[in-house]
Subunit: 468 residues, 3 copies
């Protein structure tokens, strides 16, 4: 018996459901454009088998381990590595059993849909995960992973991915991307330029990172002009590995457009580790505008992802390090924050600046009104905690009336959980078709238009906005 | 074939839809009360033909040109005048074609509904606007506009407008209103008192405006007592042209209730252009309380519209001036901000103070709880970007449970796009009937009550709150 | 004819409605767990008859009198006592008539549902309240109240209350609770520890309250160590009367974890009335962390209820005192505010810390992400103004995807309106079943799971979280 309801996420009214399903049928098999994500290029470079079900589906997925942890499961018992190398669970089967026995915790969450989808559609599982079924499902997945059909490249092809972007630090040597290119495999895996480590004065090892960037780029990056030249050089290098975008994960959306002398002065202080928190923030804000100007020259699409308070728990950071599910969204202002950058480049039709948010209150109040007038702005899809049925529906309901569909850019899966990629795109396609069907059945859109918009949201807008 | 779906904006469930439609049938033909808007009284004074379809439907509508602009269309190409008098498109047909070719951008937006409604219901167009139909529709509208049946007064009557309020600056001489009165035409067109230009120290030409107000009012408005007397005089003059309300568009909802000496001192500084930003804000805040006190005397209903960051783009402001679609909502506090004014006059049953917001997060958290207890407070309808199906539905869902229906004041169209007035009121009537039908079918309201509330929201509450 | 629709609050689609109803049938008769509320223990101690319909249903219910007041009814005319002992309406029938004549004001509000439910289910009334039916209904209720079947204990039993918690100040002597215990009646009425009066330096009579606490506890509460010891003593005393929780109603969610010397220093200043507002706030924040540490020792569940601006109207406070419907929600930050406390105790699986909010924007952005990872955190149900159909639905829609169901704690009625308790729990059960049915019919949950979750939300989670 299938785990998944074939009508999942469609409206409950039969007429609207039928239309949503029709719209969906026409887009469900379109290739996946995944323009922003965090898959590991090494997978596609080495094409080695994934180690075991827990290492594939539990341990790397912060949505999964944070929920288990919230109900008292120790991170060690889920195999999450400790900074001090202390003892953690190594046995995939025991981790899997813990996950399975607590699977009820995911009721009503997107993780439930993603995992069920991966179980059924990727691995052919036909019973619900539970303590009772844990071992049988583990054995089945484990056996599958040992076959060639479940190696990364085979899955990439089976997932019908037309193009995927990974994200690499500005000082990454792109080894794995080189290996992919040299392998002759024709899967389209591109990189994206993520310069936080060389832009954020508060980043671990900022000065060393900048020095390293200069070295790789053949520029004296310790002086302002050289630093900018090194960025240009690295962006160009990233472009040679298919990059079409840069990505910026600042604490806030603050931007600045400072006179050269002031920017250079802040840069010097930052290198010396002497920036006050306010100065570090001003420098980060100025660098967004510099990056936007470089985008005008080299065509990289720019993405701003602000608003996360990182590593909220001091204890968990000390014991397990970064990215352990303890990043918490916070209130984010865009109206005042983006003004300096927009005054500088917001009117440029040659620039694409994509905004993301963790603060849904900004959709109708700030982001849609801004994207609905500035030629350079586009709205990214619902991000992170909001990458879900209700989250996506709120985004369409709150952004569409002011920004329309054509100031949005399709879907980003933004994930490092490889097997969830088809699930996530499927969810987005179903939600968009449900939203469009509702518009049609409430007389806000004609049916032929809805079909065209469904195609645009599924495929064309992402491809166009990200130049993929 | 009709462009509009006759069941548009009704719930999709057949039972709820049938009830919504029944409720709507009983209110759809009620006269329009338009107590707050920005139509040009000159139209009704001169009753001249509108120049061409683009000048009527595209160029003056910031919702329309901002969306086109957001996708790279130059404002010049839409006929938006430049400050420097530089070359812009003059040919209505070419502007119209640009609009028509990009009409897909409005999918899912309220503009689409308003324009479709105007095309079908005002002009009798029966095919969807597109590049292909652009010329035929242009010709049809253009020919209509040349006939008497499409002159402003004829349309006013055909739109079944029982009363409409325009908005004029405190220093306006109300020439056009005089001309309307003298013409003997019996359309009810009243003015509203908008004193921002003589209250906001940051307003262009503040001191000159105050001097001018004094001159017109026969008061020495450069001293505090004379300034207040001049306001009283002007309010009385506005009342003689039917005004029943004042309107206040401050950046924030801040109010103050200062001792006379402090208020007078700030006023002096403001006249001399010496207010700090904080002092200017304090002065504006105090003047809201002064206006409220005058309302207690003269009965004008007071409207506060805070929260827009005006002219967000420095470049567009310099090139095209104010009101070019670049006003962006921002977070707005009411709880602390309104306290001084409410302490002064919030308990007065003789005062009606209507609050608007661009920050929907304030509906359930601040505005409904405040309007649900202060005798003087009422909530204005969803405003500006939120004047739409989803926006109106969110307002009812978030405000009703705490404020009820009777602390709201019906609908405002708030528009300068004349032909959209019937469309906007129709949308509001449909949304309210849909909301009410949902309450009935989920056991929250009886049917006879829903019909009474539908009538109240459509007609009675606006008429009563605005004394029209 | 029944006043209530038996399908009220269920989805309108027939299929989803049928499932919601099935889910509801299985939970509707479960006992009521009321772990947080403000009923008066004296009722259960003395078991005296309630005085009259107005004293039972109108005068003590701030939802009711604030709405009437918002439309111009004087609080005096509703029998609300004046601070100066001035004349107020004493005649229950006249108060009732005023309420009945204005009953249309409650259309679309939860008060309407609660009152209708009490009329029909508690008193057997079968016609809608109105000016016409006011007297007959008054007489009917009044006669009922004179019978033994309508005394507090009889109603408690008829309402099927398994356990209820009242809330008492830390310096309350729990006389009524003693009387209940000594009476031999077996209704489970427990207290909860509310120490605001001895924690908040801005509370009326803070120093006296602290001295009194020390006296009762037999500790020198005027020195820091004695103060903490007195808290421990009082908590233990409250536990001996069944308390399983403490409750903290601070203006903000701010927490601190100060060095002992600093905390003790602030305490000294507080006793002397010399705290600045900032110091008072810091002290309150620190005491939340102290309370959490005591909870780790004594097992009391901790509840934080921040975000209300109390007594917004200076005039009403002066004339009628506190709690007169003039508490207004305000924007509340949790992410930064809770960090010190969470760094101290957030990882403790032995602690249960339940968060409430009046700022719905925090559900998806802050509260669900935090409760979805910190082992100690749970989310309280929608609170106060949000304790309603739309408010509960927004809570489930915004919190579930990130926090799941199992980081929530069932329903709290939080009321002093005794007869509304069954109504409020019934509303919560209906809304949860409607939400769950929608999840099932949109393929997000299986039916057997929905039934289990319905039971958990109705009964098990409250019982477990509050240890009742």
């Amino acid at each position: 018996m299938p785990i998944l309801d074939e009508n999942r996420l469609f409206p409950t009214d039969p007429t609207v459901r039928a239309l949503a399903r029709d719209l969906y049928e026409a887009v469900k098999d379109l290739p996946i454009i995944s323009p922003h994500g965090h898959t590991d290029p090494r997978w596609f470079a080495e094409n080695a088998a994934f180690p075991d079900p827990a290492q594939l589906l539990v341990t790397p997925d912060h949505y999964v381990f944070r929920m288990l942890h919230s109900q008292g499961v120790a991170l060690e018992d889920l195999g999450v590595p400790r900074v001090d190398g202390g003892v953690i669970e190594q046995d995939g089967r025991r981790i899997w059993r813990l996950f399975a026995a607590n699977y009820h915790l995911f009721r009503g969450t997107p993780s439930r849909i993603w995992v069920d989808h991966a179980l059924q559609e990727v691995f052919g599982v036909d019973e619900r995960l539970s303590a009772a079924s844990a071992d049988a499902i583990y054995d089945h997945i484990d056996a599958s992973l040992k076959t060639d059909a479940f190696r990364p490249r085979a899955l990439f092809e089976r997932f019908n991915i037309e193009a995927i972007s990974t994200t690499e630090s500005a000082i990454d040597d792109l080894t794995w991307h080189k290996m992919i290119r040299d392998s002759g495999w024709n899967g389209k895996v591109v990189t994206a330029y993520r310069p936080d480590a060389v832009i954020d004065p508060d980043f671990d090892g900022f000065a060393d990172n900048v020095a390293k960037m200069g070295e790789i780029a053949g520029e004296d990056a310790t002086i302002w002009d050289g630093y900018l030249a090194a960025h240009r050089n690295r962006r160009s290098f990233f472009k040679s590995f298919g990059a079409t975008s840069s990505d910026h994960g600042h604490p806030t959306a603050r931007t600045e457009d400072l006179p050269k002398a002031e920017a250079a002065g802040l840069f010097d202080k930052a290198l010396q580790g002497k920036c006050t928190p306010e100065e570090a923030d001003r420098f980060r804000g100025h660098m967004l505008t510099e990056m936007a100007r470089m985008s005008l020259d080299d065509g990289l699409v720019m993405q701003i992802h602000p608003g996360a308070v990182r590593n909220h728990s001091t204890g968990v950071l000390a014991k397990f390090g970064r990215d352990k599910g303890y990043d918490i969204p916070s209130r984010t202002d865009y109206v005042t924050a983006l003004r300096p950058l927009l005054d500088a480049v917001g009117a440029e039709v040659g620039l694409t600046l994509i905004l993301f948010t963790l603060d849904e209150t900004s959709y109708a109040r700030e982001l849609a009104p801004m994207a609905g007038v500035y030629p350079a702005l586009r709205l990214g899809p619902p991000w992170w905690f909001h990458d879900s049925y209700e989250g996506m529906m709120r985004f369409r309901e709150m952004a569409t009336e002011t920004a329309g569909f054509y100031n949005t850019v399709g879907f980003n899966d933004d994930t490092r959980a490889f097997c969830s990629i088809p699930a996530r795109h499927d969810v987005a396609r179903r939600v968009d078709c449900s939203f469009l069907a509702t518009l049609v059945e409430t007389g806000r859109l004609d049916r032929d238009e809805a079909q065209e918009v469904a195609h645009d949201l599924t495929y064309r807008l992402a491809k166009q906005a990200y130049k993929l």
